[in-house]
Amino acid sequence: MVLLYIILIPMLGALLSWLLAARSTALCRWIALVSLLGSLALVAGIWVISAAGNVPPDRWLYNWQQPWIPHFGISLHLAVDGLSLVMLALTFLLGALSVLISWREITFRVGFFHFNLLFVIAGIAGVFLTMDLFLFYFFWEVMLIPMYFLIGIWGHERREYAAYKFFIFTQAGGLLMLLAILGLYFTHAANTGVYTFDYFYLLNTPMQRATAQWLMLGFLAAFMVKLPAIPFHTWLPDAHTEAPTAGSVILAGLLLKTGAYGILRFVLPLFPAVAQGFAPWAMLLGVAGILYGGQLAYSQPDLKRLIAYTSVSHMGFVLLGAFAFNELAYKGVVMQMIAHGISTGALFIIAGLLYERMHTRALARMGGLWTAMPAMGTVTMVFVMASLGLPGLGNFVAEFLILLGSWQASQVFTILATIGLVIATVYSLRIMQKVFFGQTERQYALPDLRLREWLIVTPLIAVILFLGVYPQPVIKTITNYELRITGPEATTSPDANNTRAAPVTDSLFVIK
């Protein structure tokens, strides 16, 4: 049940804050914050219990299932393993921070804003939790529509264009995935006679190579648009730039990660053989993203757009590592998902803080801000360094593990990706130079970080440093994931029958 609460609390918070916003906007903000912190506490609790309980690898920590539409084999099936757990922790951390960041920024239709914000977060949490493909598609859409409103209503100047673009790209990908889900459903039924959307049943569905290929491409379409991979990335700079700060944080920090998560959770385990065949192409797209996104980031005149393109570059590492098919790269990919979520989220927050003060995103109109805001400069320096992969910060661990792993898979691609680190240096240092260094012509003073802003950036700095110098707790938590892909278990399916037979309970370690 606890897994259901994790999703329900923000949904409930969403409704409450919408209803009560008319009475008091402050109350609405507090409800949103508290409900997200509540879910965060639940996730933290699961993490603590699982860390203390010495979970053997290849186990699911929690598993909960209720029939929903049994006629079609659809059930409410939620389960959590190490991968889901760390993604959930990231979700609610960034979620809570994005409520805080909107405290001053959002001034109209506050209730509806928080309704949408919390619903996106609930949708994301659902995506990370659900083990039923029908339900997965449902949550996939739940993420999409509130996000469309967030961009379209509270965004910057070209918000409508950006919102449409975001919607059309993701929706097109999502529909292809729906086709693939249905295809998988019927293929599984044709081969086994069981109609089910359950993930554990559908794993290792026997199918022909051509079928598997088409189905995999259907899933990949959705995930590669979300990730985003070249050439489906062009919605991202517009959406990120035009979204309000909280929207950018959620987009960069979490929505992109659902694409990465989808590849890890569905594409690779469901279609291991064809995925391996597709690997060179995926790695090529990953490397192309790293280099192309990096160069585009360098050339942007708009701070938020620059940061947006760095996401294209960094998520290229995810694609490269996910299709390297080894344990090192997988751990690196998950680390990258978290570290990128934190560091890019933080950079968007900083861009938002600058926008609040200067009402511009144009790099040409900034410069020399260090004098006025040394604290913000220092904070930015930390995340800029994270973005260029400086050791001691989380992103380095991630990128190093990915490259170390992908070297075993493809040396050419790894060399090209490593060159991407030089480009990362070039565009990252450009941020510092254009915003904080150099001369300033401004006549008016700017306030440095305030208390609320310190509250936002401090946890982010703490997490990125912690991930950089002691990532072992996180790496250990995600250990049980890649065993299922790379280990011998992946080829046979011991889970499938047990899953159905297992009693529907809410206790630890029931389901293998």
């Binding site: 070249i230 050439p231 990335h233 062009t234 700079p237 160069q295 585009l296 360098y298 050339s299 942007q300 005149p301 080894n326 344990e327 090192l328 751990k331 690196g332 020399g368 260090w370 004098t371 040394p374 604290a375 220092t378 320096m381 360094m385 400086l390 050791p391 001691g392 380095f396 661990v397 190093f400 593990l401 490259l403 170390l404 070297w407 075993q408 790894t414 060399i415 490593t418 060159i419 680190l421 030089v422 240096t425 070039v426 240092l429 130079q433 904080f436 260094f437 150099g438 001369q439 110098v469 002691y470 990532p471 072992q472 790496i475």
Partner: protein, 629 residues
């Protein structure tokens, strides 16, 4: 205990960053200098018993950094003879530079930030030399790059400083990329990144000259030339002069540029297994020391002379590494750290005295006004140009010159380069001394004498620059080998082709003779007949050569043309992302189709009837045609 050595600078940097403006200047100085001072004291406390005990290393495991699959890297520190030599120089010289900085930076508004970065710098460098595995070494390696960026661009208001800072970071990062790939390859083939394991197993895995090990060694060399400012990645160092002078002293003497020397010495087993790469090290060293020596000869900025001289002296160290004279390279590193820190801080004292004037042609005659600075600077300059018998630079450089020819990997070409370099060194060094301290004062500024906080480090370093040489004397002069025999725990002894006292004497005398000739030429041209030099340098060919050398052999222009401009230009051209254009085109086409089709719905009845008729005609004709065929 061992972990305190890097932890103290890191911790004090953290305190300074967090404390920010809460501290008074005195407190900042105490925290910054104190932490490095204590680290230096711990080095002595730990190092003296360690040297006496004759143990090979002290290891300290702190925690597991990352562990995934069969890969594991810990925060593990290891102290052995090689790292002790480096740790000693870093903490000791670093401490003196810190003390000096409290005087030099006394009036700067960003006092705290300066010392936070300096401490971080020292901490990163200590981590680099104490790391027990290559990933941790890479941590320190990149940390050093970051701190150089922060400090070179310390005076951030001038965009030129920011440019120099970014250049330093990016150029060294190019080298780091090569090094990262070397790490991937080492892990692939040895299954570990622990340095002792790699060194122990490498000879079992690879035979000498194996293509893979040669490639790995070359890639590591790529990292080393980046950090150590050797050909072809030397371009960042002269520009790095944009930072405050104590930063230059720190970069050139104690940290950063010697990292490459450390890396090659640390991984010496791999280079021994890859003779081609080791030859590469020697050739790069020999060529770099000559090119940089020439460039140093024509600079006008006192700090740029010193910068090129560093590149040149590191070239000597690379040459020594390349001919297998491992301990000679480390010995030269130690003496160089003393006299180069001395020279930079002396130059800093001059610059402050001249109200931040760095052009040597606007100085002159400072000998009388700043006698203490003059004498200490002269001691440093003498050591740099290796004046025989009384300077440490003589003993360390002489060893390299001799071994460049006499070791098994030695070659006459190396020897010629080394001895020509000695001549160039003497010439540019004393050109600088004479321009700065002799002749008529070029400006009427009254130079003010620096305070004790700046002068005492100079005295100490002057003493070290003289005395440090006597721990290692050549065969011909007493034959003391304290330093090299101690280092033999880690680094193998150099193997000689043949020992010939007569030839060694010849080489030494020749080197000494060329040194004095160089000084004499500098004296004639700068002090006695400056007109002659002006006329000589105005000859067309000399002017061209002068410009070439002044620009550092035009490497900057070459790289700009080859890499920077194409990258920036394509980036500008593609600012709007051509892939997005494709999607825009799709929407445009859709909109166009919509326009065309919506025109047909005009509401005019006769057009509709016309359409129906035309359609019927077409359908009928197709049907008739099908039937008739």
């Amino acid at each position: 205990m061992l972990s305190l050595i890097p932890a103290l600078p890191f911790f004090s940097a953290l305190v300074l960053i967090l404390g920010g403006r809460a501290f008074s200047r005195g407190a900042v100085s105490a925290i910054a200098c104190g932490s490095i001072g204590i680290a230096a004291a711990i080095t002595l406390l730990l190092g003296i018993p360690f040297v006496q005990s004759g143990e090979s290393s002290i290891v300290q495991h702190l925690w597991t950094w990352m562990q995934a699959g069969n890969f594991s890297a810990g925060i593990d520190l290891r102290l052995d003879a090689l790292s002790l030599a480096f740790v000693f120089v870093i903490t000791f010289v670093g401490f003196l530079i810190h003390v000096y900085s409290t005087g030099y930076m006394a009036d700067d508004a960003d006092y705290t930030r300066f010392f936070a970065c300096m401490n971080l710098f020292v901490g990163a460098m200590l981590l680099l030399v104490l790391a027990d595995n290559l990933v941790l070494l890479y941590f320190g390696w990149e940390g050093v790059g970051l701190c150089s960026y922060l400090l070179i661009g310390f005076w951030y208001k001038d965009p030129a400083n920011g440019y120099a800072a970014r250049k330093a970071f990016i150029v060294t990062r190019v080298g780091d990329t090569a090094m990262a790939i070397a790490l991937f390859m080492l892990f692939q083939h040895t299954g570990t990144l622990q340095i002792p394991q790699i060194l122990a197993h490498a000879p079992e895995i690879w035979t000498t000259g194996n293509a893979i090990i040669v490639l790995i060694a070359f890639l590591l060399l790529g990292g080393a030339v980046g950090k150590s400012a050797q050909l072809p990645l030397q371009t960042w160092l002269p520009d790095a002069m944009a930072g405050p002078t104590p930063v230059s002293a720190l970069i050139h003497a104690a940290t950063m540029v010697t990292a490459g020397v450390y890396l090659v010495a640390r991984m010496h087993v791999l280079f021994t297994l890859a003779p081609a790469a080791q030859t590469g090290v020697a050739v790069i060293g020999a060529v770099t020391l000559l090119l940089a020596g020439c460039s140093a000869l024509v600079q006008t900025d006192i700090k740029r002379v010193l910068a090129y001289s560093t590149i040149s002296q590191i070239g000597y160290m690379f040459l020594a590494l390349g001919v297998g004279a491992w301990s000679a390279a480390i010995f030269h590193f130690v003496t160089h750290a003393f006299f180069k820190a001395l020279l930079f801080m002396g130059a800093g004292a001059v610059i402050v005295a001249m109200h931040h004037e760095q052009d040597m042609f606007k100085m002159g005659g400072l000998r009388k006004q700043l006698p203490a600075v003059f004498w200490t600077f002269l001691i440093g300059a003498a050591s740099l140009s290796a004046i025989p018998f009384v300077t440490s630079g003589f003993y360390s450089k002489d060893q390299i010159v001799w071994l460049a020819w006499s070791s098994v990997q030695g070659h006459t070409f190396y020897w010629i380069a080394a001895i020509a370099g000695a001549f160039l060194t003497a010439m540019y060094t004393f050109r600088m001394v004479f321009l700065t301290f002799y002749g008529a004062p070029a400006t009427h500024h009254t130079a003010h004498t620096p305070g004790n906080r700046m002068m005492i480090p100079l005295y100490i370093l002057a003493a070290c620059s003289t005395l440090a040489g006597f721990v290692e004397l050549p065969h011909t002069l007493g034959h003391v080998t304290l330093f090299s025999s101690w280092l033999q725990q880690v680094l193998p002894a150099v193997q000689l082709q043949q020992e010939s006292v007569a030839l060694e004497w010849t080489s030494q005398l020749l080197a000494a003779g060329l040194t004095f000739t160089g000084i004499y030429i500098a004296w004639t041209w700068v002090v006695q007949k400056p007109d002659g030099m002006v006329r000589f340098s105005q000859m067309p060919f000399m002017r061209w050569l002068r410009r070439l050398w002044f620009s550092g052999w035009a490497f900057d222009g070459f790289y700009n043309m080859l890499v920077v401009r194409p990258f920036v230009r394509t980036a500008r051209m593609n600012r709007r992302d051509m892939i997005d254009r494709i999607y825009t085109a799709v929407t445009r086409i859709t909109e166009w189709c919509h326009d065309v089709l919506s025109r047909t719905q005009s509401g005019i009845l006769r057009w509709y009837i016309m359409g129906v008729v035309l359609g019927a005609v077409v359908i009928l004709s197709v049907l008739i045609w099908r039937v008739s065929v």
